[in-house]
């Protein structure tokens, strides 16, 4: 039986809202970066570095990384609970799905920590 213990939030509304808001953040980030790159076709490393050392830009990047993390968590969790199920794959599916869910969460957390490390450095 598919459970909800590994769901991002136990509330469907929160998952749903997080999915939408994170999508908006990611879109905004992509638009910003695209526009910025188009406006500065011959961008130098120094310029790029300067941009990414601004606190506001780093917060924006962090927010986007958090959005990617939560968005992926919710999305992949949905896919796994749809397709990697006892109903479709037989009795082993529950174990396989749980392992995949743990991996998925681990990968997401690692990426998040790595992103923070890149942005702020330890």
């Amino acid at each position: 039986m598919v459970g909800i213990a590994s769901s991002f939030s136990q509330s469907g509304v929160i998952n749903w809202l997080v999915q939408r808001v994170s999508a908006l953040v990611m879109t905004a980030y992509i638009v910003f970066i695209t526009v910025y790159l188009l406006a500065n076709p011959n961008i130098s490393y120094a310029q790029w570095s300067e941009l990414n050392s601004l606190l506001s830009m780093r917060l924006f990047s962090l927010l986007t990384m958090a959005s990617i993390a939560s968005h992926a968590w919710i999305g992949i969790w949905c896919v796994l609970t749809d397709y990697v199920t006892e109903r479709l794959l037989g009795p082993k599916a529950d174990i396989i799905r749980k392992v995949l869910q743990v991996c998925m969460i681990a990968v997401i957390l690692i990426y998040l920590v790595w992103a923070i490390d890149i942005l702020w450095g330890f």
Binding site: M1, V2, I4, S7, S9, Q10, S11, G12, V13, N15, W16, L17, C78, T81, D82, Y83, T85, R87, L88
Partner: protein
């Protein structure tokens, strides 16, 4: 002659399901698919399907007709036949009992889960509870559901999680009671819907809207439920 291909499976006889072809003379008439099944059953009484009212209000004869779920009794051949061939299968996603008859227990269980009855514990008046025509109009497009399961069995989310996702039909009924000015259990009903599966497995695919033989719109009802859940955090 029309080629009619029908899904056959009798668990006592067949190891596995198969498609059986029949040649059928429509005599140039635009019959309903149910008429074809009825006439074929005279030739082969072992052919099994459900039917009752034959006018599209009882919801017995939901089947998959040339790839699309619908009621056999109100689907004319002119809509169903493609290239002189009519293919009739049971509704997808639920276990088949025999031929075109499916086991609908999971579908009914989801209906029962949403408490499909009026809850109002205040003492009833001596006459009816009053309701304005505007309040009553909110139930239009909801109460007409005939529980035929065409929508839920066309919904991928219901295929994958029929025991946890309530499905379009059940959710349409859930909103029918949420929208009723006479029902007082709104908070209780909503609290039972705010998990990641019951409502939120709807991804807006809208197969339900496309197949509903009564022209109802479960996706819209689900949207209303989502809005209510957001406005009334549980």
């Amino acid at each position: 002659m029309l080629n009619v291909s029908i899904y056959r499976y009798n668990p006592e006889v067949d190891n596995e399901p198969y498609m059986q072809d029949f040649q059928f003379d429509t005599q140039g008439k635009d019959l309903m698919v149910l008429d074809v099944l009825e006439k074929l059953k005279i030739e082969d009484p072992s052919l099994v399907f459900r039917r009752s009212c034959r006018e599209g209000v009882c919801g017995s004869d939901g089947v998959n007709i040339s790839g699309k779920n619908g009621l056999a009794c109100i689907t004319p051949l002119s809509e169903a036949v493609k290239g002189n061939s009519l293919i009739i299968r049971p509704l997808p996603g639920l276990p088949v009992i025999r031929d075109l008859v499916i086991d609908m227990s999971q579908f009914y269980a989801q209906y029962e889960k949403i408490q499909p009855y009026m809850i109002n514990n205040s003492p009833a008046p001596a006459i009816e509870r009053l309701q304005t025509p505007e309040e009553r109009a909110k139930l239009d497009g909801l109460y007409e559901c005939i529980l035929c399961a065409c929508c839920s069995t066309a919904c991928p989310s219901f295929w994958w999680n029929p025991e946890k996702f309530i499905g379009p039909s059940g959710l349409l009924q859930a909103y029918r009671f949420l929208a009723d000015s006479r029902d007082t259990a709104t908070a209780e009903r909503l609290s039972k819907l705010d998990d990641p599966f019951s409502v939120f497995r709807c991804h807006g695919i809208m197969n339900c809207v496309q197949v509903c033989p009564k022209g109802l719109n479960p996706t819209k009802a689900i949207g209303h439920i989502r809005n209510m859940l957001m406005r009334n955090p549980t």
